[in-house]
């Protein structure tokens, strides 16, 4: 292998390590761009949130999501308080056309 090739490979290796370290240092690894598994409007409008850490959060797509600065964000690791809430039952939902759907889920959708 020539010296030039070795130098290029060293650079690539360094870049890969740097990228890994940067990702590892980023809290939550939240994919903010192009990720659409956040609560859709029809869900937010029909579902009671849980109030946690001073904001409404919604259990959707197997994780807790919340609005922040006009965008959705989520907890990458489920906080213990939200885990306990989830274990109490599914979120309360309102069904505006009962003939179209199963009865809305019961259970504690109230805060804290």
């Amino acid at each position: 292998m020539s010296l030039g090739n070795q130098t290029r490979m060293l650079r690539r290796f360094a870049c890969a390590v740097t990228l890994s370290a940067t990702l590892a240092a980023t809290p939550g690894c939240v994919p903010m761009i192009g990720y659409d598994d956040y609560p859709p409007d029809g869900y937010v409008a029909t579902t009671a949130p849980v109030y946690f850490e001073g904001r409404p959060v919604y259990w959707y797509g197997n994780r807790w999501s919340y609005r922040e600065g006009g965008h959705w964000n989520h907890y990458d690791r489920e906080p213990a308080g939200l885990y306990q809430r989830r274990m109490q039952g599914p979120p309360v939902r309102r069904n505006y056309e009962p003939s179209r759907a199963r009865p809305a889920a019961g259970g504690p959708g109230r805060r804290r």
Binding site: M1, P49, R63, R110
Partner: protein, 302 residues
């Protein structure tokens, strides 16, 4: 030679890949015992029917304009037990303030149901009913300011934020519910698609309805979504603030009148396009459905 072994390209790639995976996994929850909870009833695949029910609701109930959307948002605000009684009282007050508009909308729906059943929609009656919906909606906000101010005083800042989120979400659903007939890219789940399934419409009937509806809506002044969005944004900004006075929302009456009036006209013209192409059996069923909606216009007791 030692130097060459260290710089072997395939080995370096493997090392980099392993490093990448290991470091990423360390951060993204792999070390947490409860990092990825199991699925429950509220996962993404289970929400469509309830959300679709809301879409259907917004196709038929427009009477209070944005104030109705605010009242609906209280249904799932999830307030604390201590606040629940007061919030429920305010919710009922808001619906009571919208009652004249609700009655006007109920009359429109009943007129449409009667017209479909008799295969004779009276355009004058329908137009008058639409105008009554719009006129009644124009008075809703002024009648509701005290209730809205009390609501702001009762709610905590997170609950206010949740209410604003819900109002914006309802508005998005409302727009999709009432605009999709004109958007060829969004016909699945539309009012016409629902009707096609519900009444067993043929493709020929669907084509005729679509053509007739497009023609009928030409006479209806276009709804300016920006006007409604601006009012909702003003409401949201004000309601999130520490101090709030609903009386300062000067664009509310106009927005409510436009939203309710356009929704009523949209519904009426859709029915006018559908009615002439139906068979007697389809007509009977469609009249029954319209009458059903007239009977359960959300008066706050549902």
């Amino acid at each position: 030679m030692e130097h060459q072994r260290v710089l072997n390209p395939s080995k370096m790639g493997m090392i980099a890949t392993v490093l990448f995976g290991a470091l990423t996994a360390m951060n993204c929850g792999g070390a947490s015992a409860n990092a990825r909870p199991p699925a429950t009833a509220a996962s993404a695949s289970d929400v469509d029917e309830v959300a679709a029910g809301l879409t259907e609701h917004h196709r038929h109930h427009h009477h209070g304009g944005v104030t109705l959307i605010i009242a609906l948002s209280l249904d799932t605000l999830g307030v604390s037990p201590e606040e629940r009684t007061t919030v429920e009282k305010i919710r009922r007050e808001l619906h009571a303030r919208m009652e004249p508009a609700r009655v006007a909308q109920q009359k429109l729906a009943a007129a449409l149901a009667d017209g479909v059943a008799a295969a004779n929609l009276d355009a004058t009656t329908v137009e008058a009913a639409i105008a009554q919906v719009s006129a009644a909606a124009a008075k809703v906000h002024d009648a509701s300011t005290d209730a809205l101010n009390e609501l702001h005083a009762v709610l905590t800042p997170p609950e206010r934020a949740a209410l604003v989120d819900k109002v914006e979400a309802h508005w998005s659903v409302w727009q999709r519910a009432n605009a999709e007939e004109t958007d060829p890219a969004n016909l699945d789940g539309s009012r016409l698609a629902m009707l096609t399934t519900g009444l067993g419409l043929t493709q020929d009937q669907v084509n005729k309805i679509r053509a007739g509806f497009g023609e009928g809506m030409k006479s209806v002044p276009r709804l300016n979504p920006q006007e409604i969005a601006t009012h909702i944004r003003e409401f949201g900004d004000a309601f999130r603030s520490e101090k709030f006075d609903a009386k300062t929302l000067t664009g509310a009456n106009v927005a409510n009148a436009h939203l309710a009036g356009w929704g009523a006209a949209h519904l009426a013209h859709f029915v006018e396009a559908v009615s002439p192409v139906l068979t007697p059996d389809q007509r009977t069923e469609y009249a029954r459905r319209l009458g059903e909606h007239a009977g359960h216009s959300n008066g706050g007791d549902e």
